[in-house]
């Protein structure tokens, strides 16, 4: 997956670049509107991450021109204007997703992958983890061809693990991904343990094996396959 990061904050752009590199994505940085149009004309990208406030223009204009001329490129808006109006305007203008600052890099990669999956039309939108198949179109999970009955949040958590297969996810990461702003930072996040236990049980009941590994004192990760 090739990603263009249009972000004028050098440090922030570097953070994203580094994180995506570890994820195995090829990405490049455009610090302003001019460089972004230049790079988009010269190279092919799968997804463009657009910051709305650029020193020499508005990210929305970049979005409009992409939607008009390069419909096959996925777009994700990044903005500190975290108001609902901006979100609606961005999505109405044709952006695939919207993320307000500050955000978790984990969250960003999850969303980039989701955009990538929906945009790749030739293959079906499924993720396979050994004998577990996650269908992101139907939002269904099956184990050994048997449909798994998951709650909405359990499904989202499994998808989060699948999108970050190699990473250790902390309880805080999981809680914030699932419940966002609603999560209180003073929480001890013990309830995440309960949540994971429920998911593990449901999968184990059908497949007979546990796919989530506890990393002591840190969090959880998918078992290596």
């Amino acid at each position: 997956m090739k990603v263009l990061i249009v972000e004028d904050q050098e440090e922030l752009a570097n953070n994203i670049f580094e994180f995506l590199k570890k994820e195995g994505f090829q990405s490049s940085i455009a610090p302003d509107f001019f460089t972004a149009t230049d790079k988009l004309a010269a190279y092919e990208y799968d997804i463009v991450i657009i910051d709305l406030m650029l020193p020499d223009g508005n990210g929305m204009d970049l979005l409009y021109s992409l939607r008009a001329n390069r419909k096959n490129i996925g777009t994700l808006i990044l903005s500190a204007k975290n108001s609902i109006d901006d979100k609606v305007r961005g999505l109405d203008a044709g952006a695939d997703d919207y993320l307000g600052k500050p955000f978790h890099l984990l969250e960003l990669t999850s969303r980039l992958k989701a955009i990538y999956r929906t945009r790749k039309q030739e293959s079906s939108n499924t993720i396979e983890l050994n004998n577990i198949i996650i269908d992101t179109d139907k939002k269904e999970v099956s184990v050994n061809s048997e449909l798994l009955d998951l709650t909405k949040k359990e499904y989202e958590m499994l998808l989060f693990f699948a999108n970050n297969a190699k990473r250790v996810l902390t309880k805080q990461n999981i809680a914030e991904h699932l419940w966002g702003d609603f999560i209180d930072q003073s929480d001890n996040f013990d309830f995440v343990y309960q949540h994971i236990k429920n998911l593990r049980k449901k999968i184990q009941k059908i497949s007979g094996s546990d796919i989530i590994e506890t990393v002591y004192g840190v969090g959880y990760k998918l078992k290596a396959q």
């Binding site: 953070n15 500190a80 204007k81 500050p102 914030e176």
Partner: protein, 417 residues
């Protein structure tokens, strides 16, 4: 009461007083004038009576209508004209009437005569009646003319004022447009318009700079927080000892808190700036159901028992975004301040009210203080203390009534329109 009505009313009362005094003065003046005329008239009659006596030289008393001549044997004082009033029966009017009387002694052809003449030209009553009648008629005319006139004139005179009022009413601070006031030649209105347009300019400028500040502050704060959080996340990816991982995680928590404070203060400022002014009839049930669908699982995972009785359809006039924020904060508050064990949350929709009950530690101090910013039930808790401030503010701008009751371990918030 309209200003012009008040002025007209006062004017009519004052003119009534003037008319009454004026009427009395008029009666006096006319009466005096009439009396003077009557005296001249009587004096003229006196000379014709003298000529009559000269011709006839009567020896007996002559008493006729309005003339009495009495020949005198002894000498009397002469040429001493005395005017006085007397009541005499009036032959044509057939009733006693006040007459003007002239009494005088005269020496004609060596004989002395006492001559008494009396007459009236206009009766006193008639003068009073005439004056009152004309005054009343003039007053009625004045009354009608003033009321109708004032209606037309005030429309014309006050039209710049009305125009200014409607301009103020239509002035929207969020439009960032200068206020348009029509030209007027009236000095007072000119000053008023000048003052208002200056004030509007200043208010608009202040509002814009405040708005820009809140937006910029949010942007400027969120970007560095984003950078720091990203660095910490990258750090977390590396090989760290357990202790180091805890440090990173704590730092991330604090940064998230910081960004939340920024967002919340921005939200409070936005509500203050009336950016969520437009209200619509919003269904509370729907917002509540949507919210619970998303978060019910979390409540249960935290070991809190959730009871909901959404028996009734409740609609409020509120900006839908504000209602969402209100409900989020209410339930978040109920979760956050719940008991560690055997906690419960009960949500009722009934009698057009939203009632949220939850278990939690008893509060020892005055509950009103809880609605202030950064006030917490327990100062050592790590919550931001902004949740109830937002709830309170949203209720205030949306015209909702909020009641908070705490009875030992039971907390109840009731919100109604």
């Amino acid at each position: 009461m309209r200003l012009i009505t008040k002025i007209v009313f006062l004017y009519l009362i004052l003119s009534l007083i003037v008319f009454i005094i004026g009427g009395i003065v008029t009666i006096k003046i006319i009466s005096n004038e009439v009396k003077k005329e009557e005296r001249w008239f009587l004096e003229e009659r006196l000379s014709s009576t003298e000529r009559y006596i000269k011709r006839r030289q009567p020896e007996k008393d002559i008493i006729r209508d309005k003339v009495i001549i009495k020949p005198q044997k002894d000498s009397i004082e002469i040429n001493n004209i005395i005017f006085s009033d007397t009541i005499v029966y009036h032959s044509t009017l057939e009733r006693p009437e006040k007459h003007n009387k002239l009494e005088v002694g005269k020496k004609i052809e060596g004989n002395f005569y006492k001559i008494i003449l009396y007459d009236i030209i206009i009766e006193q009553d008639d003068i009073v009646d005439g004056v009152i009648e004309s005054m009343v008629k003039i007053y009625i005319l004045l009354f009608v003319v003033v009321i109708i006139g004032s209606w037309f004139i005030s429309k014309e005179l006050l039209s710049p004022f009305e125009a200014t009022l409607s301009a103020i009413k239509n002035f929207d601070i969020k439009q960032n447009e200068a206020i348009h006031l029509s030209d007027t030649r009236t000095k007072e209105f000119k000053r008023l318009n000048q003052f208002i347009s200056q004030m509007a300019k200043k208010i608009t400028a202040d509002y814009q700079s405040l708005k820009e500040f809140t937006e910029n502050a949010s942007h400027e704060i969120q970007t560095p927080i984003s950078i720091a959080k990203g660095k910490l996340e990258l750090l977390q990816e590396g090989v760290l000892t357990e202790e180091q991982k805890k440090l990173v995680s704590d730092a991330t928590k604090s940064l998230t808190n910081l960004s939340k404070i920024g967002n919340t203060l921005t939200l409070l400022a936005k509500i203050d700036n009336q950016e969520f002014e437009q209200t619509e009839n919003t269904n509370v049930n729907e917002v509540l159901e949507n919210f619970l669908e998303e978060y019910e699982e979390l409540i249960l995972l935290k070991g809190i028992q959730l009871t909901k009785k959404l028996n009734e359809e409740v609609n409020w006039n509120i900006h839908p975004v504000l209602l969402e924020i209100l409900i989020t904060n209410l339930i978040n508050n109920a979760i956050k301040h719940n008991l560690k064990e055997d906690g419960f949350i009960k949500i009722y929709l009934e009698d057009k009210k939203l009632i949220i009950e939850n278990s939690g530690k008893a509060i020892n101090h005055a509950t009103e203080l809880l609605f202030a910013r950064f006030k917490k039930g327990n100062q050592s808790s790590s919550s931001l203390g902004l949740g109830l401030a937002i709830i309170h503010k949203i209720c205030k701008v949306s015209g909702l009534d909020i009641k908070y009751i705490n009875r030992e371990q039971l907390h109840q918030i009731t919100i109604s329109e």
